[in-house]
Symmetry: C2
Subunit: 162 residues, 2 copies
């Protein structure tokens, strides 16, 4: 599923992070490993990429990333709050300079009127704090996963270059 | 990078695991997220797949999967011992019925005479214990990653069907 566009983003990210001495981690839900896979498809990625937690189940978001269970119950797994907590948890547990997160409803099932298929939140944590972005994607499952991963990689690149 | 063969294995695994009520987790090093990505590319995979730790750095193998640092130092990350510890750690931390691990040297760099490019260990943990398999792959980086992921998925399927 990893398209050339994702790999190209991974190559650019690697160049910037190796040049600046930045380490990177991820916390993935809807992307299901696609962010890590795009990054690690590039030889030499072990020089800056520490890893990713693919926390598909809510129990994994709590156990492996420290997302509070009350937050998952109150706001739902697809929420700005959980995206922030996933990014913070990944940054802390991997000991990374930058950590990105993605949580969304890839489809075809799981959508509701309030949270339709394609709704996705990204989080980005660095030493200054955590930011969040909301995406409204309109593709099928594969396209939504790839678009979310591309947006996450592009955001990492933007932050690494800053 | 995810080929149709990997997705087909994911579809078969999902059918068996949903039918038998088995939950699955993974711990990935050389596959870099490919196992999780193949599994989660199938709609409905959240019904049995809990998640994966992509532990690319040794520090992540220790912090997120509980692999002892002395084991990493003594045997190296690409070893039968570490493959077992990764699988056990993933099974325990995700609370899964079955957990598979993959650690290897995908290439093109990182090989040595004792541990050449393509050397890969898989671990599989269930309630009875942990088993390990050794693979000697002979492809390029992309082919080795895909072959390791396919072998891991096939082993999960074999165990789930047992």
């Amino acid at each position: 599923m990893t398209g050339a566009a994702l790999v190209a983003l991974g190559e650019r990210l690697q160049g910037v992070c190796l040049g600046r001495g930045l380490s990177v981690a991820a916390a993935e839900s809807c992307t299901g490993g696609l962010i890590a896979e795009a990054i690690t498809s590039v030889p030499g990625s072990s020089g800056y990429f520490l890893g990713s937690v693919v926390s598909y189940a809510n129990s994994a978001k709590a156990a492996l990333l420290g997302v509070p269970e009350t937050m998952l119950e109150t706001h739902g797994a697809v929420s700005a709050q959980v995206a922030r907590a996933m990014a913070s948890g990944a940054r802390e547990r991997f000991g990374a300079d930058l950590a990105v997160s993605a949580t969304g409803i890839a489809g075809p099932d799981g959508g509701t009127p309030a949270k339709p298929v394609g709704l996705t939140y990204l989080g980005l944590a660095d030493a200054q704090g955590v930011d969040v972005r909301r995406l409204n994607l309109d593709g099928d499952r594969a396209a939504n996963r790839e678009a979310a991963a591309a947006a996450a990689l592009a955001w990492l690149l933007e932050r690494a270059e800053r």
